[in-house]
């Protein structure tokens, strides 16, 4: 329609232009470059990872002898791997529980208007905005073996003994405070705390988006029907917010289970591999020991988990629409 004005344009060019006006032609032209790039830089390595996991490839080579599922079965038999798998699940689930509880409460209050909201919101989103590997160094200092602020504070309020008991740390007392990152139970707890702390702001933001999307008519109708407080929360807010809250949780699961930086910076999987997770263990085997095939198999154990999460996410994202 608009091309009629271009009378002087050579026929060939005009035809090209005509094509660009055509919707079913223009759309693929606009989308193709992005899709191609992503397929090449994500799809190919993913396929390659799967291939490598079925070979005995070692560092420096891109191929190896076909070994079938040996890498997967070998990993499964390895106690360190089992431990890493278990830790990944524990850390991911425990962190999400903390995140959901925190985000449900905090988002409920943060949607209100109050003085200083801008500043409070800034403080709340700091953990999300700051680079992960860097803020984890901040936590490394918080959990320092000699100058831990946590131990200092607990010491002042005489709770070191309680802490030692709660995490069954041997030979630990008020005068001999526990090394946070040097004891398996405490180190696991520290990792969970850091993950929950890091994911919470994101969950709060998504929860707020969910709350904001509840139409005022629904609120008003609930008010007229006399729904207040807990009843309103249970029968009105919760059902409407649940789908988008689940999206936040599923994101949290991916962020936590696939993270490498937190465990790497805090403990490097120690003490004695007790806090290894799938990602760090796959790096230890695949890069540091140079057994690329075995490392790829370990990281691929994450895939089923992420796949399930993704399918659930799509399911709930469709329902998140408030009509």
């Amino acid at each position: 329609m608009a091309v009629a004005a271009g009378g002087v344009v050579a026929p060939r060019r005009r035809r090209w232009r005509n094509l660009l006006e055509e919707r079913r032609f223009l759309a693929p032209v606009l989308i193709a470059p992005a899709v191609l790039f992503v397929v090449v830089i994500v799809g190919v390595p993913l396929g390659w990872a799967i291939y490598l996991s079925l070979t005995d490839a070692i560092g420096g080579s891109l191929t190896g002898k076909w070994v079938g599922f040996d890498n997967f079965t070998d990993a499964w038999r390895d106690q360190n791997f089992r431990n890493a798998l278990e830790n990944t699940l524990i850390i991911t689930l425990a962190a999400q529980v903390l995140v959901v509880a925190g985000a449900a409460v905090l988002s409920h209050f943060l949607v209100r208007d109050f003085r200083g909201k801008w500043f409070v919101r800034l403080l709340v989103i700091l953990p999300w905005a700051a680079p992960v590997s860097l803020v984890t160094i901040g936590w490394l200092w918080i959990f320092d073996s000699l100058f831990s602020i946590v131990n200092w504070t607990l010491g002042k309020v005489h709770l070191i003994g309680v802490l030692c008991g709660a995490f069954s740390v041997d030979g630990c007392s008020a005068t001999n405070p526990p090394p946070w990152l040097g004891h398996p139970n405490l180190a696991m707890f520290a990792i969970i705390v850091v993950h929950a702390w890091r994911v919470l702001p994101f969950a709060v933001v998504i929860f707020i988006a969910g709350l904001a999307s509840i139409p005022t008519e629904v609120e008003d109708a609930a008010k007229i029907d006399g729904a207040t407080g807990l009843r309103k929360f249970w029968y009105v807010t919760l059902p409407l917010q649940l789908p988008i809250a689940l999206v936040a949780v599923l994101f949290g699961i991916v962020f936590t289970a696939a993270d490498f930086a937190v465990v790497f910076v805090l403990t490097r999987g120690g003490p004695f591999n007790s806090t290894q997770v799938l990602t760090t263990w796959s790096e230890t085997i695949g890069i540091e020991s140079g057994r690329v095939g075995a490392g790829a198999a370990i990281s691929l154990y994450l895939f089923p988990l992420l796949l399930v999460v993704t399918i659930l996410m799509l399911f709930f994202a469709r329902r998140a629409q408030v009509t």
């Binding site: 899709v35 700091l126 696939a258």
Partner: protein, 284 residues
């Protein structure tokens, strides 16, 4: 009463979430004889005898912060981070802007599923890809260069940006474009002259969040680069500033805090737009 309740809940949350940053801020200006004195009260500044003082400016030092900038490679890492970030954001925009627009305007079947597919790619974590990618980087002779990061980072920024942009473009009424087309604009011209200028706030949001994804990234930066001069802050600070058992805590805390504050300020300013794009793409 209601107000007080809000502060009572929000306050403690804010304190806990921001605490590591307060702790970093206090630490970075501490003198060694204050920091490593078990008699000191760690929350505040103390004299050599471990007595706390409220006139903290008399008991703090800028020595460790200037050490970070003068005697470590930190400025180089900041520079590298900026180079990588800017280059990746540029590549991302070139590829994601047209794609996001087309996906937003494509009604019906495969436009929708294409959008979902792109979103799914964002969920494939770097931890699944870093082993083959690191081999690929070696093969391409890009090992230990900033180019390796510039090449690989768009793998997660493009899906993320396309998704957000799709959400933003959906909020622009189709009538605006139709009017331009009727006035004799070509589609591409309408895109450049009408659609992009209106979506500038959305595009800026995408720029900021994509940039911060690059600053955040750790495992690629850690495995692809190895020499001190080619590190970004995310890989440089944890690997180069911590040598063996010697931690320079004050300098480290400065290195942590300095990039975090501006990023948080940007996030806070663009948060509402981020929410709009993020949920707009998925749920409408």
């Amino acid at each position: 009463m209601r107000k007080a309740g809000t502060y009572l809940v929000v306050g403690p949350f804010a304190i806990v979430l921001a605490f590591p940053f307060y702790w970093a801020l206090t630490t970075m200006f501490k003198r060694d004889r204050d920091l490593y004195n078990t008699k000191s009260i760690p929350y505040v500044y103390n004299d050599n005898g471990g007595h706390a003082h409220w006139d903290f400016w008399n008991y703090m030092t800028f020595h460790h912060v200037s050490f970070l900038f003068k005697h470590t490679e930190y400025p180089t890492w900041v520079e590298n981070t900026l180079i990588v970030g800017v280059a990746v954001v540029a590549i991302t925009l070139v590829l994601a802007l047209p794609a996001g627009y087309a996906l937003a305007r494509l009604s019906g079947g495969w436009g929708q599923s294409m959008g979902v597919a792109i979103f799914l790619v964002y969920l494939v974590p770097p931890t699944l890809l870093f082993l083959p990618l690191s081999r690929l980087i070696t093969e391409l002779d890009l090992k230990d260069t900033l180019w390796s990061l510039i090449l690989v980072y768009p793998s997660f920024t493009i899906p993320f940006a396309t998704w957000l942009l799709m959400g933003f473009f959906k909020t622009i009424p189709q009538e605006l474009e139709d009017a331009a087309l009727v006035d004799g604009c070509s589609r591409l011209r309408a895109l450049r002259r009408i659609v992009f200028p209106i979506s500038l706030p959305g595009i800026l949001t995408v720029v900021i969040f994509s940039f911060s994804l690059c600053v955040n990234e750790f495992i690629y930066a850690f495995t692809f680069t190895s020499s001190t001069a080619h590190r970004t802050i995310s890989a440089g600070v944890p690997n180069e500033l911590i040598r063996g058992d010697v931690f320079f805590w004050q300098s480290l805390m400065a290195a942590v805090l300095i990039p975090s504050i501006p990023l948080a300020l940007l996030y806070n300013s663009f948060l509402d737009r981020f929410i709009k794009g993020f949920t707009g793409g998925a749920f409408r």
